[in-house]
Symmetry: C2
DNA sequence: ACAATATATGAATATATGTTCATATATAAC
DNA sequence: GTTATATATGAACATATATTCATATATTGT
């Protein structure tokens, strides 16, 4: 009974786990991590981000799109310029916990 | 002075950020996330992990090696069997924070 | 409407990565 | 030592992904 309304625990898990891996995949690229890193100091426009990382504007735009789709950054338009900032606190929390892990392992 | 001993802040950062992205890359695969997920219930041997995920043993061994190199899981041998468990609390913390982000975004 | 500037996007290419198959290593039982 | 079992590893293949180049879109100023 209620078979079609019922979502089994396993199904929920396997979908959630897939989404979770997709989320971490977004953190798992050095360009995107560096973008997140500079945005931790506050919002920044696309050109300044690309300048900061020493990469061309197109590459940055492509990566910003991926960060945006994952809900990690948020754009704000001001005239021709678009400023990006981190979307919520989880982004910083995940970043910092990961960094703790690294530093912890490094001191063994 | 002291130029060769001195590591500039930027250099530290760029290396740490690279390592950080490498760490998240390890989380960023659905097979590895599922392995971490089952190990959150306690240690498990390779065969049972592969049974649990419905994947062949070789694929699991390959992924366990990557998880091991990243310091996320730890092996314990008992006879012919090798039991794997999560290495430290950071693994669960990162996993759970990521999951929070997902659920949070899902309820918008 | 036109030119200039900021950002986004599509296609192409090069590289990285996950899985499978076959096989190697390690331990235990006999 | 031989056989059986558990896990690990190397090579090959298929797929995914990041960057570049060229170009499109959007906004502003004239």
């Amino acid at each position: 009974m209620n078979e079609d309304k019922c979502i089994r625990k396993e199904e929920i898990d396997i979908n959630a786990l897939y989404d979770l891996s997709e989320l971490f995949k977004v953190f798992g690229d050095s360009t995107r991590i560096r973008i997140i890193s500079v945005l931790m100091d506050g919002e920044m426009c696309v050109y300044h981000i690309s300048e900061n990382l020493g990469m061309n504007q197109s590459a940055i735009s492509h990566q910003l799109r991926i960060l945006r789709s994952a809900g990690l950054v948020r754009p704000r338009r001001d005239g021709k310029t678009i400023y990006y900032s981190l979307d919520d606190e989880h982004v910083e929390t995940i970043f910092k916990t990961g960094m703790e892990h690294i530093l912890h392992k490094h001191n063994d």
